[in-house]
Amino acid sequence: MTNYLAILRKELHALFVSPIAYVVLAVFFGVSGYFFYIVLSFYVRQAAMRQFGPYPFPMDVPSLVMESYLGVMSTIILFVLPMVTMGIFAEERKRGTMELLLTSPVTYSQLILGKFSAALIFLLVMLVPAVFNVWLLVTYSEPRPSIAPYLIGLLGPFLLGAALLAVGIFISSLTENQIVAAATTFGIFIILWVLDAAAASSTTTWNEVLRYLSVLNHYDDFIRGIFDTQHLVFYLSFVFLGLFLTSLSLESERWRR
């Protein structure tokens, strides 16, 4: 436990003193804030037009806003997370501090979980404005909607981010070059993203498999406010797989060089 906390603390320090963290946060806050504004004003206008048009019918503005807003957010997350994970192991290897970590009485799981937890905390910080925006939606809507679907919605970007972080950490453990790590991670994220589109075209068995593997397919229910354990299980197994592969990669490195 002491080891895990020490690694976590050190990793948080490393993340938050690096300029990359602030660039990532600034870009993410800026872009997601902008989209929130666009989406919100679009639906408010739509609702107003419908209400005063010839055939008025009710529209659930807050849930539509959340769905579109968090939908866009998944894409932004996909783009910025490689910058967060690229250095996690690559940097240690480049600086030679990997030798310090691996010659200390620290187990692989303490090391990997410590680093993963720090990345998760960073992800939570990234999502602070999203929480605030969703809170605005819920508080200022008339009539006031129930809070539960919105909390479930926020779980979406968190779980998606966690799964992507685990993949990114695995990629970072394979190389000592941060740029290579970032580019590869980004490539894999794009493939995961495209997989969704490829699977949407038809309903053959192969496409069913693709659809199940697509990280975004499992995301959609969350942002509609629907909680289904199969999606939770999917993301958690994704995280587990990523971290497990990381431990294999660290173990095999000792035998390779």
Partner: protein, 317 residues
């Protein structure tokens, strides 16, 4: 304290370390000497638990580094060739982190931190960022990092590389003062360093151990005696004859004159000290004695002879 038995490590088809066997007693300082690429770093990485060996075993402080890695790692302080430093941390912050992951008890942490800072001369720079430190200070932080959990065994890979002469002397003194409390293995390719700091030397070349002994014995074995440099004034020719008649002296080599002084190399049999008699002889013989010392170069010669013999053998194969 350290037992190494027939360690072998291959990288692909290249054998980096072959059949390395040695032992180190508690409190001893052992020097690892060899040309670049001889397998020093590989051996040290295996001992520190960073690399697994293909064959053989290594036991440090009673724990096998492959079978009980965590226990062994708790008792080893390791300074790699490139000091492993987090440059964005302060010296105190970094040492505190290392203390935590090395398992120093929370109650002892500040005391150990103070101790290693005293020992390594880091008291004034605790709050500075590592990235702003000079190479010499970084090396000291590296040493402090290796010492922080009071390990039984210290493994230091080229601890004086890249330092200026004053820093080299300081680091050597520090290492010497650590012997006794800690068992130390240090590697170097600088020969005088070994005779100055180490009690025993392992000479390693092309992955194999060529010799293990004290520096004096190694010189003795190869030259079959001792060599003393003598700088004299006055009539050299007569003196040389007189010296050659001294019991134990095998040969006197005239190295030529400079500024009216003559440099002689006296080769003597056995390990008996002949310097007092030699001095008396020269002074009584009317010579002027300016300087007398055991030949500095000799360990280098030993080293060269051992390592080149080996490669000639390899070439012959």
């Amino acid at each position: 304290m350290i037992q190494v038995e027939s360690l072998t490590k291959r990288y692909g088809f290249r054998t980096a370390v072959q059949d390395v066997t040695f032992e180190v007693q508690r409190g001893e300082i052992l020097g690892f000497l060899g040309p670049n690429g001889a397998g020093k770093t590989t051996t040290m990485r295996i001992l520190s638990g960073y690399l697994p060996a293909d064959e053989g075993r290594a036991v440090v402080a009673g724990f096998d580094v492959f079978e009980q890695p965590l226990e062994a790692k708790r008792r080893i302080g390791y300074l790699p060739e490139q000091p492993p430093l987090y440059t964005e941390m302060t010296v105190d912050g970094f040492l505190d982190f290392v203390a935590r992951i090395k398992g120093v008890a929370p109650a002892d942490r500040s005391e150990r931190l103070q101790y290693v800072k005293d020992r390594c001369g880091l008291n004034d720079i605790g709050s500075r960022l590592v990235k702003h430190l000079s190479k010499g200070y970084r090396q000291r932080v590296g040493l402090a990092q290796a010492l922080i959990h009071d390990p039984d065994v210290l493994i230091l890979d080229e601890p004086t590389i890249g330092l200026d002469p004053k820093q080299i002397i300081e680091v050597r003194e520090l290492i010497k003062s650590l012997g006794g409390d800690h068992t130390i293995i240090l590697s170097t390719h600088i020969l005088p360093e070994v005779s100055m700091t180490c009690q025993r030397v392992v000479i390693i070349n092309a992955g194999r151990i060529v010799a293990i002994d004290t520096p004096e014995n190694l010189i003795y074995q190869l030259t079959g005696g001792q060599r003393i440099e003598v700088e004299i004034g006055g009539s050299a020719a007569e003196l040389i004859e007189v010296i050659e008649r001294l019991p134990g002296v095998r040969k006197v080599v005239d190295q030529g004159a400079q500024d009216g002084r003559r440099l002689l190399v006296v080769e003597a049999e056995g390990k008996t000290e002949i310097r007092p008699e030699l001095a008396k002889l020269i002074v009584d013989g009317g010579g002027e004695l300016y300087r007398m010392q055991p030949e500095r170069m000799s360990l280098e010669e030993v080293f060269l002879r051992l390592t080149t013999e080996e490669s000639e053998e390899e070439a012959a194969r």
